[in-house]
């Protein structure tokens, strides 16, 4: 099939960007979206034009490196699917596809479709861990954790840190990302000793990075390739209120 792409090109963080139009002829429906871009890039290189920069690595939907807002939807039209796992059979011959980077003040554009997501790392550094050093851990079965709790903790921990939640949120809020990490530990006994402190510190870090505020649009949940549910946001709100009420504000 033949497609027209409108791709965001931006030379650097401080340059103005613009949408540029490219043809993508002879696209096979079995290609992944990124393989389609590979082919476009291969042609650009052959024509002596600068290829489109985009982030990608594992191409199997787990590293969280790939991004792309495709026709206004992070990771494109297929639910629960990262861009690297999106296949061209989701599009029709003759389609025009707009490809934009994640847009958020906290995710500045590095070049073209590549953005800087280090703000996510800094939020985790603020408290997204159980403070245990290596060594001295008790036997793994000494602590019983019910299957339901373990499963819920996994549901939350399934986050790949791609940032689609931020990209999808009209307010560029990072609540789902933060709430997922808070929920991961909140559902495990290992997370209890630092529960209040972790919640407040991570929320404060999220605010400091310049993400927007949650308005319960639930776009994040719809865009999340790992289908992390918004109930975790409500749970984090509760944990935050409890922490503040207890005077443990981090």
């Amino acid at each position: 099939m033949n497609l027209t792409l409108k791709v965001w090109r931006q030379d650097g963080p401080n340059d103005a960007g613009r949408l540029e139009t490219y043809d993508a002829p002879d696209v096979s429906p079995d290609m992944s979206f990124l393989e389609m871009l590979d082919v476009v890039n291969e042609r650009l290189i052959n024509e002596g034009r600068t290829p489109i920069e985009f982030d990608h690595d594992c191409r199997e939907g787990i590293c969280g490196m790939c991004s792309l807002v495709i026709n206004g939807v992070p990771h494109g039209p297929q639910r629960a699917t990262t861009t690297c796992q999106l296949h061209m059979r989701s599009f029709k011959d003759g389609d025009t596809i707009a490809i934009e980077p994640w847009r958020a003040k906290a995710f500045p554009v590095v070049k073209d479709l590549v953005v800087d997501r280090s703000s996510f790392d800094r939020i985790i550094q603020a408290g997204g861990y159980a403070s245990v050093n290596t060594g001295g851990a008790p036997d793994a079965n000494a602590m019983l954790i019910g299957k339901e709790d373990a499963d819920t903790a996994f549901d939350a921990a399934a986050c790949i840190g791609c940032g689609a939640c931020v990209a999808a949120c009209p307010n560029a809020s990072a609540m789902l990302f933060v709430a997922a990490k808070v929920a991961h530990y909140a559902h495990l006994p290992q997370g209890q000793p630092e529960r209040d402190r972790r919640t407040v510190k991570m929320v404060n870090s999220m605010d400091a990075e310049g993400f927007g505020n949650c308005r319960n649009y639930y776009e994040c949940e719809a865009a999340c390739p790992k289908e992390i549910p918004v109930k975790f946001i409500g749970n984090m709100n509760r944990d935050f209120i409890k922490a503040v009420a207890a005077g443990n504000e981090g």
Partner: protein, 236 residues
């Protein structure tokens, strides 16, 4: 108390403030509507209710001050949040269809600010008497010779003006949209969510919003279509 103020200034704290004040305002909207629906019971019922409220004296002022404070905090915090949200996405998407956001959710600022403007008009109309001053001056003389404010006639006279009636109807639809999102959203924001009840809560919120819209617009529409008229002998 620093920690509390600081926490209330965080993104979650601000949302908490909007939710709590919104909940209080929702309570007011419901009570206000229930009181006003007495218009269907006739002139005596509504005017007596109005007089009762007035008779609260100092308490009424306390309530008004409280309401005003909630209102100011709700609106000011919401505006602040909206400005921050705008700043959080300096470059907007060229294509932005949305995935599952609702009109009511997306329009909170617009519906909120419009309702805010409407409330000012509403006060100017029925409380301060700046609109249709003659109707505002109407009184009713009771059997014992005392007089009281003729709220019933004032309202009916107002709603007999088609433009005013339609303005109220339009404002109530916007208020309904605002409440439709706000009245389930607070559950999530205050962490009272429960994933099993979430769909029920959203349905209940929509139901509540509809009831508020229907209850409130029933009054201007009843007047406009002549189901309620001015009492005999009252002219404006």
């Amino acid at each position: 108390m620093n920690w509390l103020l600081r926490s209330l200034q965080s993104s979650l704290g601000k949302k908490f403030l909007v939710a709590v004040t919104g909940l209080a305002l929702l309570g007011f909207v419901v009570t206000h509507m229930l009181g006003n629906l007495q218009i269907f019971l006739g002139r005596d019922a509504l005017n007596a209710y109005a007089a009762q409220l007035k008779a609260l004296g100092g308490l009424l002022w306390v309530a008004r001050a409280g309401l005003l404070a909630f209102f100011v905090v709700h609106v000011a915090t919401a505006i602040r949040i909206s400005l921050e949200n705008r700043a959080a996405r300096p470059v907007r998407y060229a294509v932005d269809p949305g995935i599952q956001r609702t009109v009511s959710a997306r329009g909170m600022l617009v519906t909120g600010l419009t309702v805010f403007a409407f409330v000012l008009y509403h006060l100017a109309h029925f409380t301060w008497g700046w609109v249709m001053t003659d109707a505002h001056m109407l009184t009713e003389t009771l059997a014992d010779g005392t007089t009281r404010h003729d709220v019933f006639s004032m309202v009916v006279a107002g709603f007999q003006q088609p433009l005013i009636a339609l303005l109220y109807v339009a404002a109530m639809v916007l208020l309904g949209l605002h409440i439709r999102h706000g009245s389930w959203s607070f559950v999530q924001t205050l962490g009272l969510n429960h994933h099993k009840f979430a769909p029920a809560i959203r349905a209940a919120a929509a139901g509540l919003a509809w009831l508020i819209v229907l209850g409130n617009i029933s009054m201007p529409l009843a007047v406009l279509f002549g189901a309620i008229g001015l009492p005999d002998g009252v002219t404006v």
